[in-house]
Point group: C2
Chain length 224, copies 2
DNA sequence: AATCTATAATAGTATTACTATCATTTTAAA
DNA sequence: TTTAAAATGATAGTAATACTATTATAGATT
């Protein structure tokens, strides 16, 4: 069973809603592919236009600039991840199991329950790992934050924090631990692939040691 | 007592050694100020040249591009931090105390024992927090890594990992925990200032709750 | 049939990220 | 002390980037 999914995004993220037109969806689809392939620094609207078979000017009607587009797709990812989290933790009794789901989601080990034709979530996950932080590591953070652009990230973080509190209601750092878990999962995956000496996982494709590390980190932290 | 310090940097980081000339040191000094003020994205060699009172072309004789310069200054920071770590943990009996020093160093709570006239370490610390990750989050990671550009970061990470092993020789993830500690310290400081809902620290200037969180994270992880 | 909307096609500007040349100043070697 | 070498400054130039603006056309809507 898979569910058709359409995520309503914050209008401050775009000039024209890319989900409302064929061209818009093409822009999203090809930007994910292109950013994944050449990296955000080398990515330009000109190159994207060629991939999409449209023009630079047309893309500028949808997004103010490439940074906004990056924020759009990473934010979309966080929203999708929260949906997945809600779906997969539904009916679970033990908060322990819920934490396991969170970790599996962050390491992309959970089967995707939602269909979105034009978004390749695996590529998008790769982008979030390599480029995701650049969405908020700018001089515009404060302003973007006021426009609520990071709300989905915060919502996800808050939801994870609440699971932590189910496990240990006395715990003093649920949000910090949640954001640390999210960031660490991604950063350690990046290190594993590109700078393996900063980890203890080796370079093999297996995520199991990473999952164990994250479980250890979280469960130990939450102990009384 | 303070020590005069000159750090020998990996020649792959520069075209001409900026530490060997007045202009070179000026470039470093003003780039730290400028990147701190306007952010790495808006930072250009043109603007830097104006600040320095020199020309774009002259700066290009020292650094291939602005990304290399960023890698240079962040790498300098890691080297300096390792020196500080060695200095401040010297003669300490308990690995527990050493871990406390590590955390205090990462949160900039330790008195600096080294003099470098042209480098403002407080500004540099700010840059490492906001922009530091951009040094390795690029499509050039692998190549840069082969040129040993990230060795100081790895050395620091390894040294911290060894302290962890002093505390618990059986611990299976010393390097991952070390890199997680470094990254988390900086990211939580960033969140604290710009996206405080992702933390439990509030927006006050105090670093104490952060220090406690990091201590909790590390010591709990290292328990048997 | 008239009109509105989205897109394509094209052009244009300021800035960025360089590279190249040559004159001049500073430094180092003979 | 002269001479050569190296470093810098001044200037110019190029290709690409990051946009904005204008006009024409095709398609959908009323």
């Amino acid at each position: 069973m898979e569910l058709q999914l359409q995520i309503k995004m914050n209008p401050n993220l775009y000039l024209r809603d890319p989900d409302s037109t064929e061209l818009g969806r093409n822009i999203i689809q090809h930007s994910i592919k292109l950013i994944h392939d050449i990296g955000f620094e080398d990515f330009t609207f000109k190159k994207l236009a060629i991939e999409v078979g449209s023009t630079e000017a047309s893309i500028y009607r949808y997004f103010e600039n490439k940074h906004r587009l990056l924020t759009y797709i990473t934010t979309w990812f966080w929203t999708w991840l929260e949906y997945q989290l809600i779906f997969h933790t539904n009916n679970l009794k033990h908060p322990r199991e819920k934490v396991d789901i969170v970790i599996k989601l962050l390491t992309f080990e959970v089967q995707d329950k939602f269909i979105v034709e034009h978004i390749d979530k695996s590529l998008l996950h790769g982008i979030v790992i390599c480029e995701g932080d650049k969405a908020y590591l700018t001089k515009n953070v404060t302003e973007d934050n006021k426009s609520m652009l990071f709300k989905p990230y915060k919502d996800l973080c808050h939801r994870i924090a609440e699971i932590f509190l189910e496990l240990n209601a006395e715990f003093g750092f649920p949000h910090s631990l949640a954001s640390t878990l999210i960031e660490t999962a991604h950063r350690q995956m990046y290190f594993k692939e590109h700078l393996p000496r900063l980890t203890d996982f080796g370079k093999s494709k297996k995520v199991k040691p990473l999952v164990e590390f994250l479980q250890h980190l979280v469960f130990k932290s939450l102990e009384n």
